[in-house]
């Protein structure tokens, strides 16, 4: 039977007939005990998985969707689908990788829904990366830019400017720099090869650098200003 649209790309069809799961993967996956209990119907074990992986799923969907409402809906859908299809997870990959693929499908579904209103979202997502991004701002930054703003102000600035990035660059920055996935993990989560992920990540970082420059670059002080509060 064909899996429902947006359902997880479960372990490959061949794995459904494999008598023994990949023991090495199972042994190295810290989620295995909770996954096994959840597969037996233990909701508390599944809740532990939701708590453990919720933030990563949310950040990926926020990166793709670009707004909190869609990201939260996508996150709920992803976890509901993971619960519904948990019996089809045989441990051929880490549970977290399997879950991120479900979330990625949800993210693409959000972009597909938007296509009915505007083709822009999915077209932008699928477009080839431009060859190179040329940095424009070359004025040095303050030595300790974070000291100029409170923690809350910093968070607000970063959130505002990240959300202005095009989705494919935003999600690369969010998974890699905010969520702390390594390059291979981030590429796998987004279904990209490592080279493409690296290109998008650098582009996103440089675009964000341009956007943050007005907040953090050295202020030019006029003569006579020094010493004033």
């Amino acid at each position: 039977m064909e899996p429902p649209k947006g359902s997880p790309p479960v372990d490959s069809p061949a794995s459904n007939t494999a008598p023994v799961p990949m023991e090495a993967v199972l042994r190295s996956d810290p989620d295995t005990p909770d996954v096994k209990r959840a597969q037996a119907g233990d909701l508390a074990a599944f809740e532990a998985l939701v708590k453990r992986h919720g933030r990563r799923v949310y950040r990926m969907l926020l990166g793709i969707a670009g707004n909190e409402a869609d990201a939260e809906d996508g996150m709920q859908n992803a976890f509901v689908k993971a619960w519904q299809h948990l019996g089809e997870f045989h441990g051929d990959s880490k549970f977290s990788s399997w879950l991120m693929r479900i979330a990625m499908n949800e993210g693409l579904e959000i972009l597909r829904r938007r296509r009915s209103k505007s083709r822009k979202a999915l077209v932008e997502w699928d477009a080839e990366d431009e060859e190179r991004f040329r940095p424009r701002s070359v004025r040095p930054w303050e030595e300790d830019p974070e000291s100029q703003y409170s923690r809350a102000e910093m968070r607000e600035i970063v959130e505002k400017e990240i959300m202005k990035l095009p989705a494919k660059y935003r999600v690369a920055v969010m998974l890699r720099d905010l969520e702390g996935l390594d390059t291979q993990e981030a590429a796998a989560a987004l279904g990209l090869n490592v080279a493409t992920l690296k290109t998008r990540l650098l582009r996103g970082r440089l675009m964000l650098r341009e956007a943050l420059a007005p907040y953090f670059r050295l202020k030019v002080r006029r003569v006579g200003e020094a010493g004033h509060a």
Binding site: Y58, V138, I162, L178, R205, R209
Partner: protein, 86 residues
């Protein structure tokens, strides 16, 4: 001697500390002589640090409870489509 274009191509790996010692030496030689590239590399590094440390985009409150409520009411095999925004 590396060009500015070469430096930009390697900048991502440089920021991630994923370059060989020999390439790192070449990149740093270029940065020592090229002020615009030095500014770009330094501020890109600061950008990564700021994003990494700011803990932005935390989860919405009570997200676990909302997800578990959907699962409890929908149950396996029956998606609850009555939830928010679905």
């Amino acid at each position: 001697m590396l060009s500015c274009k070469d430096l930009l191509e390697e900048l991502g790996d440089y920021l991630d500390d994923d370059v060989s010692a020999a390439l790192r030496r070449e990149l740093e030689e270029h940065l020592a002589d090229c002020r615009p590239c030095k500014v770009v590399a330094d501020s890109a590094m600061q950008t990564v640090k700021i994003v990494t440390e700011c803990r932005s985009f935390e989860l919405p409150p009570k997200f676990t409870a909302r997800i578990m409520a959907r699962i409890r009411t929908g149950g396996p095999g029956r998606a609850d489509r009555g939830g928010k925004g679905t």
